[in-house]
């Protein structure tokens, strides 16, 4: 009986593969726009909350904690200190291409120099993964061709 049900299921319960695709274009606005412009020039811009003084990287136009407009920019980094990380060994496939990125890779939390109560998330150079520890110093590695996108920053590497 159970075998029969499985046989029917295999024949009749068809699943159809669908790829959904929508074309978008997103405004970066004056705040994120400044951030991307900074990456082009190998600079990290943060906004600073006028109320509590914390920095936000990438910059946000509103401090989530104080709920006030924050549009004053400060430059932070470029070097920083690792405060947290994980290492992914199983990557999700890209839903549009089915391709899976090379593993392992890291999710890195960096406290950029000069920032206050804020972290910046990126990743570490593959070769440096075995040496990764909380508290190590890192520096950015920039793409030679920079267009004002997140790919202008390739990754961080251990400094020294």
């Amino acid at each position: 009986m159970a075998e029969n049900i499985q046989k029917i299921a295999a024949e009749e319960l068809i699943s159809i593969q669908v790829i959904n695709s929508i074309d978008y274009s997103f405004s970066t606005g004056p705040i994120m726009g400044k951030w991307f412009q900074g990456l082009k020039e190998k600079k990290f811009y943060a906004t600073k909350c006028p109320s509590c003084g914390r920095t936000m990287t990438p910059p946000r136009g509103c401090c989530a904690l104080c709920v006030v407009r924050s549009e004053d920019f400060v430059e932070v980094g470029p070097k920083g200190t690792v405060v947290n990380y994980d290492i992914a060994y199983y990557a999700s496939p890209d839903p549009l291409t089915g391709k899976v990125r090379k593993t392992p890779y890291s999710a890195l939390f960096v406290m950029l120099d000069g920032s206050a109560r804020d972290i910046f998330a990126h990743e570490i150079k593959d070769d440096d993964i075995p040496k990764l520890k909380r508290g190590v110093r890192v520096r950015p590695v920039w793409n030679e061709v920079r267009t004002g996108s997140i790919h202008d920053l390739l990754y961080f590497e251990i400094d020294g």
Binding site: I16, V18, N20, I22, S27, P30, G61, C62, R69
Partner: protein, 380 residues
């Protein structure tokens, strides 16, 4: 019964492509606007619970409200809920929060940037199932085309009448500082505009629009802390029709009739034709204005065309904002209607102010061809 008030409303200027701002930037402007009007704060003595309205597909991310928590004051241990239907439903949700005693003040902000997608039809195509209707190309425009043909035949609505609706919408839009499309038209411009999805013509369809709206709602006890002139939400109703277009009577707005009756009953309105003196309908396509008016019971069945020709729009102050036909974004078209009615009831609608308004009805819809319908009654 206890009452719930709208204490303040803020509207972002509507444009077809607000390219210079993220939706977060737009919502930040509205937050400051509402705080400026009311002096409200977040926390134990103010707003503890926030409501938002946005759409995952327009914003291109799931759980789209996560991206705006900061700018609605919810990013720091505050309650937050997202209305994933047209924003007018959020007024009902906020009422429930307040009338249940869970909250006494709610900040509510909705946004939608239709311009983010290359075509809003690509987005509404995603409303349909992935292996049947979506593949056949059904979207809100083609669903509306089916409904337009069915309704226009049933109620004998003419091209001339639809042209009047559009021409009038643009006239009123020219007086509304927030409206999107203010170019003035002659009836012939509408009647001979290119066909978009027969029988819907280009100028029968609302322009692509970006915008955002925010409201502050409060219990009767709290309302006067924020305003001297609260506007009362006296009625709310909503109703869902079938998902499959083939199972529906597309020529009749049965869901709207039920939603309206629910709202009128709650507001104690027995004869809407006599009580209502301002209407905001979500007319994404010109045929929908007379159709929704019928659904709201402001004219008899099949009388929508005559309503346009003879007596209706002026008598009932229909869409003095310009309405959807002058451009409002999909997810918050009705929420803009509520903000407009709020201004009208307060006597603050400036150049498009109606006289002697005390009972306003706002209608909105989510889904293809008016599938889900919502009605709110606001009174002075």
């Amino acid at each position: 019964m206890k009452r719930v008030a709208i204490c303040a409303a803020a509207q972002h200027e509507i444009k077809s492509n607000i390219w210079h701002k993220r939706f977060q930037d737009m919502l930040m402007d509205l937050l400051e606007d509402v705080q400026g009007q009311t002096g409200f704060t977040f926390g134990d003595n103010g707003v503890k619970n926030v409501l938002t309205c946005s759409d995952d597909f327009f914003d291109a991310r799931t759980i789209s409200d996560n991206a705006i928590n900061d700018v609605v004051g919810a990013g720091n241990y505050r309650g937050e809920q997202k209305m994933a239907q047209e924003g007018l439903n959020g007024i009902g949700y906020a009422m429930a929060c307040i009338l249940s005693g869970h909250d006494d003040v709610i900040y509510f902000a909705g946004h939608c940037k239709e311009s983010s997608s290359a075509s809003r039809n690509q987005i509404s195509n995603m409303a349909y199932d992935p292996f049947y209707c979506r593949c056949l190309g059904l979207d809100y425009l083609s669903a509306a085309g089916l409904q337009a043909r069915a309704y226009m035949e049933k109620a004998a609505v003419t091209e001339e009448q639809l042209a009047k609706v559009v021409v009038r919408a643009r006239q009123w839009a020219s007086r509304n500082e927030y409206a999107n499309e203010k170019t003035q038209l002659h009836p012939g411009d509408v009647m001979y505009s290119s066909v978009l999805c027969d029988p819907i013509r280009t100028l029968h369809a609302y322009p692509v629009s970006d915008g955002a709206v925010a409201l502050l709602l409060a219990s009767e006890e709290k309302a006067y802390e924020y305003t001297d002139q609260p506007i009362w939400i006296t009625g709310f109703g909503n109703c869902m029709d079938g998902y499959d277009l083939g199972t529906r009577d597309l020529a009749s707005s049965n869901a709207l009739k039920k939603a309206a009756n629910q709202a009128y009953k709650m507001a104690g309105i027995k004869q809407p034709k006599k009580s209502v003196n301002l209407v905001e309908v979500m007319d994404c396509y010109a045929y929908q204005q007379p159709m929704w008016i019928e659904g709201l019971g402001l004219c008899d069945e099949r009388e929508g065309g005559r309503f346009i020709d003879e007596y209706g729009p002026a008598k009932y102050n229909v869409n003095l904002s310009g309405g959807m036909l002058a451009g409002r974004p999909l997810m918050i078209g009705g929420l803009y209607g509520a903000a407009e009615a709020f201004l009208q009831l307060k006597g603050q609608a400036n150049e498009h102010q109606a006289s002697d308004v005390n009972c306003a009805v706002i209608q909105s819809t989510t889904g293809g061809a008016g599938q889900h319908q919502t009605v709110v009654v606001l009174e002075r």
